[in-house]
């Protein structure tokens, strides 16, 4: 596709429910990132993949959060036993960058998760 695609756009989950958020990066992009954006705040880093390797997961807030990118393309962010504080917009971004390059990251429109 022309840009980063995320689905669903909106998700309402009952507290305790598991959710899965999908990201389709721009074709050929090596790097993929997940960010969490609370209302009125800037995005906060969650995790980073280079191809299928998860190189940094230091931003994942708890062991309820899990991300994967098994074939180096599509990625899924899974949140188990959702809690109200998980309510936020989850943004995915991809870039061409590798270890030698500094290139910009392109963001998707995000998935707005509301936990009730």
């Amino acid at each position: 596709g022309a840009g980063v695609s995320q689905s669903p756009r909106y998700k309402v989950a009952k507290r305790g429910q598991d959710v899965a958020l999908r990201c389709d990066p721009i074709s050929g992009h090596v790097s993929l990132f997940w960010y969490q954006q609370a209302l009125g705040q800037g995005p906060e880093f969650l995790t980073y993949f280079q191809n299928e390797a998860q190189l940094d997961k230091s931003g994942l807030p708890s062991d309820r959060f899990f991300a994967e990118r098994p074939e180096g393309s599509v990625s899924t962010l899974k949140i188990q036993r959702t809690q109200q504080e998980d309510s936020a917009v989850y943004l995915c971004a991809s870039s061409l960058r590798d270890r030698e390059m500094n290139t910009e990251a392109f963001f998707g429109q995000g998935t707005r998760l509301t936990v009730v």
């Binding site: 800037g42 880093f45 963001f107």
Partner: protein, 112 residues
């Protein structure tokens, strides 16, 4: 602790009234500073990357500059369609690629 601070939090301008947004940072070894624009309900849209003090980049009515401690986003003769939240982010040596630290943003409103 690494930190990015943007000011002002909100800015209201009349169409044609030029101004500047500020992004100050305290990071141990800046790898790059990024400016993004974010419209309501959308993801951030890339504007500029700056890598070293003294660097400047321009795009239409926007011009970004970088010093050792801060960056400015200058908006010349803004139009209503420039209304958005402008986000600044830094990437630092020692962090992984893509681990950007974002500021909270400046919400810009341009009235006709």
């Amino acid at each position: 602790e690494d930190q990015v601070t943007q000011s002002p939090e909100a800015l209201r301008l009349q169409e044609g009234e030029s101004s500047s947004l500020n992004c100050s940072y305290t990071v141990s070894g800046l790898r790059g500073l990024f400016w993004y624009r974010q419209d309501p309900g959308k993801g951030p849209e890339f504007l500029f990357t700056l890598y070293s003090a003294g660097e400047e980049k321009e795009k239409e009515r926007l011009k970004a500059t970088l010093t050792k401690k801060e960056s400015f986003l200058h908006i010349t003769a803004p139009k209503p369609e420039d209304s958005a939240t402008y986000l600044c982010a830094v990437e630092f040596y020692g962090g992984s690629q893509g681990n950007l630290i974002f500021g909270k943003g400046t919400k810009l409103s341009v009235k006709p």
